[in-house]
Amino acid sequence: MGIELDFPAVLERWPNFLGGAILTLELAFFATVLGAFLGTLAAVGRRSHSLLIARTCKVYVEAIRNTPLLVQIFLVYFGLASIGLKLSAFTVAVAALTINVGAYTAEIMRAGFDAIPRGQLEAAEGLALSRLQIYWHIILLPAVERVYPALTSQFVLLMLASSVCSQISAEELTAVANYIQSDTYRAFETYIIIAVLYIFLSLVMRAGFWGLGFVLFPRRRRLGTPL
């Protein structure tokens, strides 16, 4: 007798899978929103005139991009506890994911900023706009539009990478899968099911970003042309 694949035995736990998938999406959502914010700040920081701010942002980006997410999560989770700060696994997971994806976002956004032609900035300066106003009105949206596909992929990758949060007791999809498979010892069925679920979730996210792009870029909606 070889291996029997008994999907119903595992699928009957669908509420657990559903819960895990929802938590995965929640993690991805919060980390995406906060990470986009943090990353944009860091990207702006890297172009700051203050050497201290620019350096700090660079160190942040490089430190994060060159170490594994799992190590970062452990350091945040156990590090915070060691100094007496007990946060929920969810909070820590969101924080660690945010810090992680923020670094990648910063790198992507920086490329977007660099792609804005100098003439645009001079025109804005010529109109007496302040530095902040120039970032907000002139640079941000076109930069985001230019790197939108890269951002989308990065955040989908973040969702997939959030599986390591199972290590610090966040009950996301992989955690649920591990629980079910050690409870039932039906590892194949479980892994096949979560593979399908992850692919589905990544499609959901891509669709979400597509829709968001529709709202964010009215010009593209009307003209259908990339910047």
């Binding site: 029997e4 610090i168 591990n178």
Partner: protein
């Protein structure tokens, strides 16, 4: 069932092929102290490791440890990448649907252990406290099924992460073996844990692929013999600090 798939690779009797190869491949997780771990010189040690070594010696076989993680212990034997599992497998009816278990070679007393200073006497005191467990272990399943007790459970990937969480202060209560509960204080004297509420006693058994009656028979014979001669009890005591139940002390 309609969704049931069966894949059948051609194969011979497992016992014969082990004996022919003069080598037994045992799947053991070396990251779950004190059953499987590394000593100061990074050599495998632990109660499961010594049981495996004893078995190989008795049968006159070369021993190969198949490094595994909690998640891959079972797939390793199902797909023939390992012959048997000795890796703190506790026996449950659910699991027995997928693999076969030998007779028990040890037991595992599990408790709820908490920070010594914590005033916990019964289940009611655990309300609002977070209990750390290793995900998918029998302790986890047992606690998860106590729906009426309104417990908050934090599941970690393995015992070690759970202990790390306790040592570093992420949780103040854990559900695990008495041995591990005592270890927490050793690692961090500022956080001494002690057993507060007994949870259950689980039988630990050797796991093997279904449909291997000859290997099963030989394993059971070996276990009975080594219970009688007290070797299994000695190994257990060496690592866990306590003895096996009276009927297993030989």
């Amino acid at each position: 069932c309609l969704f049931m798939l069966t894949v059948q690779p051609a194969r011979a009797d497992l016992l014969d092929s082990i004996m022919q190869a003069k080598k037994i491949r045992i799947s053991t997780d070396l990251a779950i102290p004190p059953s499987g771990m590394m000593d100061g010189s990074m050599k495998a040690t632990g109660s499961d490791v010594e049981v495996a070594q004893l078995l190989a010696k008795d049968w006159g076989l070369e021993l190969e440890f198949i490094q595994t993680t909690g998640a891959t212990r079972i797939p390793n034997v199902l797909t023939g990448k390992a012959d048997i599992i000795i890796s703190t497998l506790s026996v449950t009816a659910e699991r027995a649907k997928v693999i076969d278990f030998s007779n028990r070679y040890a037991t595992l007393q599990s408790d709820i252990g908490c920070l010594k200073s914590l005033n916990v006497k019964d289940w009611a005191d655990l309300k609002d406290k977070t209990v750390g467990v290793a995900r998918g272990t029998t302790q986890d399943t047992t606690l998860s099924n106590m729906k009426d007790k309104e417990l908050k459970i934090a599941r970690y990937d393995d015992d070690a992460t759970e202990v790390t969480a306790a040592v570093s202060g992420q949780v103040d209560c854990v559900g695990t073996s008495a041995t591990i509960i005592n270890q927490i204080g050793v690692k961090n004297p500022a956080r001494i844990f002690e057993s507060k509420i007994p949870l259950a006693t689980f039988d630990l058994a050797v796991g093997l692929k279904k449909g291997e009656p000859r290997l099963m028979e030989k394993l059971n014979g070996w276990i009975a013999e080594n219970i009688k001669n007290g070797k299994l009890n000695a190994i257990y005591k060496k690592f866990h600090g306590v003895e096996l139940p009276a009927d297993m002390r030989g």
